[in-house]
């Protein structure tokens, strides 16, 4: 049966081409119609395919369609081909769905921007690249999408290129991502030369035979792929670009830097679950890095004043959770959190966008406050998102986060420490999110009077996507109610065929059967985390609502710590001093000293030496006839002597 998978990315590509080639010649209505229409078509088509897929038996839910041969070279052969299976359809649905809503939101948000059509052009290109990433049937095509979304991220972060900080941030994002891509590429080389193919199907089928479980090669390959993931998904040590990426327009932050692109790393690891299951060392690294990032980014978010930066660090932190899930071999939980996170984080970002829109570009929370009555729709939807991310029961974040925490505790690869740090990070999440809410929506307005007059609720085109996302943030979790709460985890059952292969490896047989813990333990852990979250919400309420002086005092009494957190642990400065400056200075040295002085000097010196020798020899040329004649005669004499004495 023909599914025409290529249609899914084709729509945004066409949108991109139309808007891109006729840039500046189309009016805004048409541009937005084309852009949103393209993504909408993709969404509806993928929804259609989703139901087609559901109608198939679980084992047959993997459709592969090959368009044409891309790079043939000797035994190396890579196609442009697409793979639709439960994992990719979920990603496609999330990507197109969230993108569609954000496209619509952007019509309102970007309405007065002179780069309106450029914005939608980039946005469509992004959706196209992202769809290539998730639909690819081989690693190399995935890499195309991988770099493609990096490019779009670069373009969109630097969208307001006249602002130096914006174009700096774009460049930084691209280069940091490139460092990750470097690892990704090398990982591909190992896989190809070991397995002889880059197609997912072939690789996953042959890998168990070609790699030794836990061997150096598979560990190296998976670690290198993970390096790529840390770049794309902003994990330690490559997370530095994501907070800066907030220089881009807010819908972009919502779409690319929260909901879709940054989750590509998680998707890639879930996709490669077979490989990762064979490398326990890597899994441990993934879990530790993920948890460290979750915790570390959470602490930074505690002290930030910029509304978008708080959300950015929160994204980094939440991505850390997803990696923890992958690291403890609970790929399904990771993808589940990925999905719910993309709903509520998109919602939060768009909500903050609505706030910023109302505040005429002001992003500093210290100048906000009391916005609840001015922006009711924004407030309510934002609140839903906050509750979801904080992990309050009945909201989607609760189910997914709890699943991860449980797996971190119970899985063969998990440990109590992972759980402890996870809960601590969850508590911090609740704290900084409610700090944000209280500072923004409650209390007295701290903005100047001019800004106060400007306050207004956003137009419908912006609030309706907010509401839809709010609904999703609530119901999104109910597809994966854990067994312990009496639900059926539809979500993981659906994903099972894809993740099945990895979990059926000999090394991992007892991962799923982690039944050594009683349901009571699970419920206890669940309850304790919820209680901790509630406590930290109360703390936030106390510090930022009830007794605002105390928070100031706290800040001064712990000014060192506060500075450290506000300065984001000075990681950027560290990288600057340790990596960037030596490279730039070294390059100047290479240019000025090695190139110009040494190599050119050597060559010019050679020329000078030859010149000097010639000058010396020139004195023989007296210009006098008789000298020449004498030398001539002497030459003849010597020559004859030579002949005679021979």
């Amino acid at each position: 049966m023909e599914y025409s998978l290529y249609l899914i990315p084709l729509f945004p590509l066409v949108g991109f081409l139309i808007n891109g080639l006729f840039i500046g010649k189309l009016n805004k209505k048409f541009v937005s119609f084309i852009a949103c229409g393209a993504v909408g078509l993709s969404f509806f088509y993928s929804a259609h395919l989703f139901f087609e897929l559901l109608s198939l038996p679980a084992e047959a839910r993997a459709i592969e369609e090959i368009l044409f041969v891309w790079i043939p070279s000797g035994q190396f052969n890579v196609n442009i081909g697409f793979l639709l299976d439960p994992l990719s359809i979920i990603m496609v649905m999330v990507v197109t769905g969230v993108s569609f809503l954000i496209h619509i939101y952007s019509i309102g948000y970007m309405h007065d921007d002179p780069g309106f059509s450029r914005y939608f052009t980039y946005l469509n290109l992004f959706v196209f690249s992202m769809l290539i990433l998730v639909l690819a049937n081989n690693y190399l095509l995935m890499f195309v999408g991988w770099e493609g979304v990096g490019l779009c991220s670069y373009l969109l972060i630097g969208f307001w290129f006249e602002k130096k900080s914006a174009s700096d941030a774009g460049k930084k994002a691209f280069i940091v991502n490139r460092i990750g891509d470097f690892g990704f590429l090398l990982g591909l080389f190992i896989i190809f030369w070991q397995v002889g193919s880059l197609d997912f199907a072939t690789v996953f089928e042959k890998a168990p035979a070609m790699f030794a479980v836990g061997g150096t090669l598979i560990t190296a390959a998976t670690l290198l792929l993970f390096l790529g993931a840390t770049g794309k998904s902003a994990q330690i040590p490559l997370f530095v670009w994501l907070p800066d990426a907030m220089e881009g327009p807010t819908p972009v932050s919502a779409l690319i830097h929260a909901a879709t692109m940054v989750t590509a790393g998680v998707y890639m690891i879930a996709r490669s679950n077979v490989l990762y299951m064979m490398a326990p060392t890597t899994l441990a690294v993934v879990a530790i890095v993920g948890m460290a990032t979750a915790f570390f980014a959470g602490t930074i978010a505690l002290a930030q004043n910029d509304i978008k930066r708080v959300l950015a660090y929160s994204t980094v932190s939440q991505l850390g959770y997803m990696f923890v899930a992958c690291g403890v071999a609970a790929f399904g939980a990771g993808i589940f959190h990925l999905m719910t996170h993309s709903f509520f984080k998109a919602l939060l970002f768009l909500g903050s966008g609505s706030v910023i829109h109302a505040m005429a570009g002001q992003q500093d929370m210290r100048y906000m406050g009391g916005l609840k009555k001015h922006l009711p729709a924004t407030y309510w939807t934002f609140m839903v998102g906050t509750l979801a991310i904080a992990g309050i029961p009945l909201f989607s974040g609760f189910f997914s986060k709890d699943e991860i925490l449980w797996k971190a505790f119970s899985s063969q690869y998990g440990s109590t420490w992972l759980w402890v740090f996870g809960v601590a990070a969850a508590a911090m999440t609740a704290f900084y999110m409610f700090r944000l809410v209280y500072l923004t929506f409650y209390g007295e307005g701290r903005m100047d009077s001019h800004a106060k007059e400007h306050l207004h609720e956003s137009p419908k085109v912006m609030t309706i996507p907010l509401m839809l996302l709010a609904v999703l943030s609530i119901v999104g979790g109910y597809v994966g109610i854990p067994h312990v709460l009496g639900g059926i985890n539809y979500f993981e059952n659906f994903l099972e065929p894809v993740l099945h292969a990895g979990q059926n490896l000999p090394v991992a047989t007892h991962v799923l059967t982690s039944g050594s813990y009683s349901t009571g333990t699970e419920l206890l852990l669940m309850a304790s985390s919820v209680i901790l979250v509630l406590l930290s919400i109360i703390l936030a309420w106390y510090l930022y609502r009830k007794n605002t002086d105390l928070s100031g005092k706290l800040r001064t009494s712990m000014s060192g710590l506060h500075k450290l957190l506000l300065g984001k642990y000075f990681v950027d400065e560290l990288y600057g001093a340790v990596i960037i400056r030596p490279i730039v200075n070294g390059s100047l040295f290479l240019w000025k000293i090695v190139d110009v002085f040494l190599i050119d000097g050597l060559i010019n010196g050679l020329a000078v030496v030859i010149g000097d020798i010639s000058t010396g020899l020139r004195t023989v040329q007296t210009g006098r006839l008789r000298t020449y004649a004498t030398i001539f005669l002497a030459g003849v004499v010597v020559l004859l002597l030579f002949v005679l004495l021979r």
């Binding site: 007296t622 006098r624 008789r626 000298t627 004498t630 005669l633 002497a634 003849v636 004499v637 004859l640 002597l641 002949v643 005679l644």
Partner: protein
């Protein structure tokens, strides 16, 4: 025959003496005169070597025409006894004489080693009675060597044209400084 030997030595002395005197003179006119002496002595030697025609040419063309041309130029430029101020030459005179002498001996040794190793020179050479006369030489010139002979005429023509052109006094003196 003794007479031949005597004539040879007398002519040789004159030829060499003339040559030496020629290069040692300051006055170019005297130089030319000594050169003529040397040439006449050489012409006699030519005749002794049965080269009548060439010997005659030597007197007529060299002594008679070329050296007269030299004399003419010397007179024209009024060069008599021009004193050249002494400059310290880079290579001393002794070295130069030495060079010339060594050169001479080298040639002699080569002649000794290569040309006359046998007794050819000792045996009297019998040649045709008209060897070197005008007629046989002319026959050669106009038959076997006709083409080189004609070429010499072209050479002379070119030389004449060149000499005329160069020696012509330039009215407007724009030529480069020599």
């Amino acid at each position: 025959m003794l007479l031949d030997t005597v004539i040879f030595y007398i002519c040789a002395i004159f030829a060499v003496g003339g040559a030496v005197m020629m290069i040692l003179q300051r006055n170019p006119v005297a130089s030319v005169m000594f050169m003529i002496v040397s040439l006449i002595a050489q012409a006699v030697l030519y005749v002794q070597l049965s080269a009548l025609f060439v010997g005659a040419l030597l007197i007529i063309v060299y002594a008679g025409a070329i050296l007269v041309l030299f004399l003419f130029v010397i007179m024209l430029l009024n060069l008599r006894g021009e004193r050249f101020e002494e400059e310290r030459p880079k290579l001393g005179l002794t070295t130069k004489y030495g060079l010339a002498i060594i050169f001479f001996f080298e040639i002699v040794i080569i002649i000794k080693q290569t040309v006359f190793t046998g007794s050819i020179s000792q045996s009297p050479i019998t040649v045709a009675s008209d060897f070197g006369n005008v007629k046989p030489v002319a026959e050669l010139l106009f038959t076997k060597y006709l083409f080189p002979f004609e070429l010499t005429s072209i050479l002379l023509l070119v030389a004449i044209v060149g000499a005329v052109l160069m020696a012509k006094k330039e009215n407007n003196d724009k030529g480069e400084q020599i």
